[in-house]
């Protein structure tokens, strides 16, 4: 049977492709095409419309999420840090947060920090530095709190300098 005509298979491959959106593009394409070929092979002797056989083949594969999790895992015996890079934005976030720049640095630190965290999450283990990014974010909020406090204090004592 041709798997491209089976709605259960179509649905499964769509879920796999969606789950694999966290992987690098070439890995994602490769994975989906391997699984498609696998199903083609598994169901090659199956008459069209044999739902039980299709369900069985899909069950043996495991859930799309499980497959993607296996792809995102660092290689066994290889710690996550090996071969991975520290995200540049995470470093920048901490740097501008520390420099502060009268509050502008704090805003930049938040922008960089949140963006760095998303990039690290999307990198499927090839980037590290989420701790740094979080530090940048916390420092950024502290920086903003300082600016806000200063503004409130100045507003409450408008005549102090006169």
């Amino acid at each position: 049977m041709n798997v491209h005509t089976d709605p259960l298979v179509d649905d499964y491959l769509r879920r796999l492709d969606a789950a694999a959106s966290t992987l690098p593009t070439d890995q994602r394409d490769e994975l989906v095409s391997e699984i498609r070929d696998h199903l083609q092979e598994a169901l090659s002797q199956t008459p069209p419309g044999d739902q039980a056989a299709v369900r069985n083949a899909l069950e043996r594969l495991g859930s799309p999420e499980e497959i993607v999790a296996a792809a995102a895992d660092p290689a066994p015996g290889q710690p996550a840090g090996v071969g991975s890079q520290v995200n540049v934005l995470a470093i920048a976030s901490v740097a501008v947060a520390v420099l502060w720049f009268a509050g502008f640095g704090a805003v930049l630190a938040l922008v960089f920090g949140y963006r760095a965290r998303r990039q690290i999450k999307d990198s499927a283990g090839t980037q590290t530095g989420s701790g740094l990014a979080t530090a940048g974010i916390i420092l950024g909020w502290i920086g903003i709190a300082i600016v806000v406090t200063a503004v409130i204090l100045i507003a409450l004592h408008p005549n102090k300098s006169q």
């Binding site: 391997e34 696998h38 594969l61 499980e66 497959i67 066994p76």
Partner: protein, 109 residues
Amino acid sequence: MSQLRKGTLEYCVLALLRDGQRYGFELVRTLSETDGLLVSEGTIYPLLSRLRRDELVSTSWQESEAGPPRRYYQLTDAGKRALADFSDEWARFRDAVDALVTPQRRAGR
């Protein structure tokens, strides 16, 4: 247990390729039907992809008698070495664990 399975599975894949090339579906079916390994077939493909990126296996597309071409996997020299190293290590590891976990009658009582 699942960590142990995951760590050894890649060498099971290499071992299946010791006697020559195989295509993905054949490899995956053999592993999933091996009693006690308990793997979902789909999770083996990411493993194959990683072995290829680590250059322990290489792949080639070949025509099949029926149907579309198949991707065949074969061991590289680095893969053969990794398998040989693991086999030695594994034999020692297995014996050591066996000696500890197998109940034995104490001698001298």
